[in-house]
Amino acid sequence: MRQRKKSRSGKLIALSALGIALLLAALYFSGAKIGSLKNPGGEKFGTFSAAGFLDNPKTHAGNHYRIEGTLDNILDSSTAGGGVVRLVSLSVEGGRFVPLLVPEGSSAFALQRGQSVVALCEVSIEGLPVARSIEKK
């Protein structure tokens, strides 16, 4: 009786995992949006942990993250290189703030304080998240 129960739950887990894997593979190969976000390169964007990241941002260089938060402030902006580049601060979970560089073209809307946004980012070698794309949540 007990053996029959074990083999039945193992089958269920295996089927679930297979299903998930098939879904992810379809998304990856089709270049489709993650949620509503564009992901032209099709990189994998990990879950962002502000506490872990802010402990030592430089160690996260090259990582890709999906960051959700509220646009706290536009810290600086520059038009060097032809487009408008902005440095903004995002208020994220745990009352923390994360600086985010928003290059020209990565945002399809006008950035305003208080907007809830989701950004797909890559961490620069200085440890600064640079948005690939940013959208309102």
Binding site: P57, L75, S89, S91, P99, S124, E126
Partner: protein, 611 residues
């Protein structure tokens, strides 16, 4: 007997007067005074240099007058000076009795000399004059109102005259006895001559008896003469001594009277004075070879009196011309010689009082100069110039100017040394200044300045200590004194300004802290103290407030400290994130805002997209 020229005694007295005048003219300078007090060198006695012999000098410390090879102690000059000043102070001149006394004395002189000036000639007075004079002397002696003016001198002269007269009478008796002895001697000689040819035995016996009688006669004669003759000589000598004594006492009128009476008694011309046995001549150290007669002594007295008369006349002329300084010197000289002369005694009291004022001012000037009190000396010179327009103050003024300038120069040198902090040099200079002018009034300023400098040095040291302890509050309490103390010290001035600015900053921070604390803005309140507390950690009120604020804003402080730490370590992103978190708690923090701005710009500039 040989009458020789007189000059010695007369000139002696004349020179005595001039020598005294020189003494009163002594310069007032200390050095000069010191020289004047030094004993005069003894002149050579019996020297061959005539010039040296005629020079006279007065030793002011002993009152000894030296002249022409001998010296004469005239008494204590300071005592004579005191008598002179007492005379100047007497508020009236001749009293009625004194006038009558001097009139009587003058009558005697006219009677004995035949002239009012007492000029002494070789002619002895007549018997009648002698007798009248003798009676006049006795009259003076018998009148107590007159007697007090000469202290019994007239009576003494009468006594001397009487004593000598008695001895002269005895001498005449002695001469008669001597003639008897001589007659007996001649008789004996004749008898002896007669018996020379008689060779018989009785003749020989008689001759032997006569020889024995002759020997006895000689013995008797010698014994008689030995007893009688010296008493006359003694009486003459005593009279001579008394005349000399009167001369020494400067009672010149009495000298003339006594000498004339002596001359009348010793009519045989034996007027020579015995010098070797004369105690007065011994007192005067008279040279035994110096011929001296009663005539020469009387003439000396007469000339001295004449000198006094001339001195008084000159004095009166000087008074009339308001030459009070010269008048004092002239009168002093006349008084020294003619203290008992009527011409001096009769001088008006008012002018004498003026002279006394000049004399006292001159004495005070000399005292001030001797004591090196040049401020007082200057005052006295001015006073003297007013009292006696003829007073020549050139030498005094020059001395005062030179000495005060020297003292002031040393004082200035000392002050400069004091300012330079050279205490030893300053003390030396002040010592030199004090030696020259001990009562220099600038010393009070120097003491004041020295005190100020001491106070200044103390304040500077105190300021240094307070600055080292950063005790700005105590510095502020005495800011004015410190500012005055460091007026010449740019470095300390800068430090003092910095301390005062620091205190202002602290006070501003504390005020802001109080205000924000009351509003409940504890993070901002802490931040208001943050900068001041970092700069001035030793300020107690600030430290206490900062401690309190730190407790209230501990979570905010933790965020800021974390941001600062990351910032320092070059973790710009972490630092920016931490500053942003802190700013969210305290949005008014200018320092956090500045850090956010700075780091934002830095990240914008340096961001490099990942490859």
């Amino acid at each position: 007997m040989k009458l020789t020229k007189i000059p010695p005694a007369a000139l002696l007295l004349a020179c005595l007067a001039s020598a005294m005048a020189q003494e009163t003219n002594a310069p007032a300078a200390p050095a000069a005074s010191a020289n004047a007090e030094a004993p005069a060198p003894a002149p050579p006695r019996g020297g061959t240099d005539k010039k040296d012999e005629e020079m006279s000098a007065v030793n002011p410390s002993t009152g000894a007058v030296t002249f022409n090879g001998f010296s004469w102690n005239i008494g204590d000059l300071p005592a004579l000076d005191m008598r002179y000043e007492r005379f100047l102070m007497e508020n009236q001149s001749l009293m009625k009795d004194e006038k009558e006394y001097y009139h009587q004395l003058q009558s005697l002189i006219v009677l004995l000399t035949g002239n009012p000036f007492g000029k002494f000639g070789p002619q002895a007075p007549s018997r009648a004059s002698f007798e009248k004079a003798f009676l006049a002397l006795q009259e003076i002696e018998n009148k107590p109102d007159w007697r007090k003016f000469d202290g019994g001198v007239a009576g003494q002269i009468a006594t001397q005259v009487e004593a000598l007269s008695v001895k002269l009478r005895e001498s005449r008796d002695t001469k008669g006895q001597a003639a008897k002895f001589e007659a007996r001697r001649r008789n004996l000689e004749a008898s002896l001559k007669f018996l020379e040819t008689d060779t018989s035995a009785p003749g020989a016996v008689r001759r032997q008896r006569l020889l024995e009688e002759k020997a006895r006669l000689q013995t008797e004669r010698a014994a008689y003469e030995a007893e009688s003759l010296p008493s006359l000589m003694m009486a003459k000598a005593q009279f001579q001594v008394y005349i000399f004594t009167l001369l020494a006492q400067r009672r010149f009128q009495h000298v003339v009277v006594a000498a004339k009476l002596y001359q009348a008694l010793i009519a045989d011309g034996d007027l020579g004075m015995s010098q070797k046995n004369n105690p007065v001549s011994r007192e005067m150290n008279l040279d035994a070879d110096l011929p001296l007669t009663t005539i020469s002594v009387a003439q000396a007295a007469s000339m001295a009196h004449e000198d006094v008369r001339r001195g008084v006349e000159a004095y009166e002329n000087q008074i009339a011309a308001s030459m009070l300084d010269a008048a004092d010197r002239t009168l002093h000289a006349a008084f020294m010689l003619g203290e008992y002369m009527p011409e001096v005694r009769a001088l008006p009291a008012q002018a004498r009082m003026q002279i006394l004022a000049v004399r006292q001012a001159r004495k005070q000037l000399n005292s001030a100069l001797n004591a090196r009190d040049y401020a007082q000396a200057k005052t006295k010179v001015e006073e003297l110039a007013k009292l006696a327009p003829d007073f020549d103050a050139t030498a005094n003024k020059t001395q005062i100017a030179v000495e005060t300038m020297k003292s002031d120069a040393f004082l200035l040198k000392g002050k400069n040394a004091l300012f330079d902090g050279d205490q030893a040099a300053a003390e030396n200079a002040f010592r030199e200044a004090a030696k020259i002018w001990p009562t220099n009034p600038a010393f009070e300023k120097k003491d004041e300045m020295s005190g100020q400098l001491d106070e200044q040095m103390k304040l500077k040291k105190e300021l240094d200590n307070l600055l080292a302890r950063a005790d700005y509050r105590l510095i502020a309490d005495r800011a004015e004194k410190f500012a005055a103390a460091v007026h010449d010290d740019p470095d300390r001035q800068k430090k003092l300004r910095s301390a005062m600015d620091g205190l202002k900053q602290i006070e501003r921070a504390l005020a802001k802290y109080e205000e924000l604390s009351r509003a409940g803005s504890h993070y901002a309140a802490w931040e208001a103290l943050e900068e001041a507390a970092g700069k001035h950690p030793k300020d107690e009120p600030l430290a206490l407030a900062y401690q309190e604020a730190t407790v209230k804003a501990s979570d905010y402080i933790g965020g800021v400290r974390a941001a600062q730490k990351a910032d320092q370590e070059g973790e710009d992103v972490a630092a920016l994130a931490a500053y942003l978190a802190a700013l969210s708690k305290n949005p008014t923090s200018e320092s956090v805002k500045a850090s956010v701005k700075r780091l934002s710009r830095k990240l914008m500039d340096t961001q490099t997209p990942a490859p």
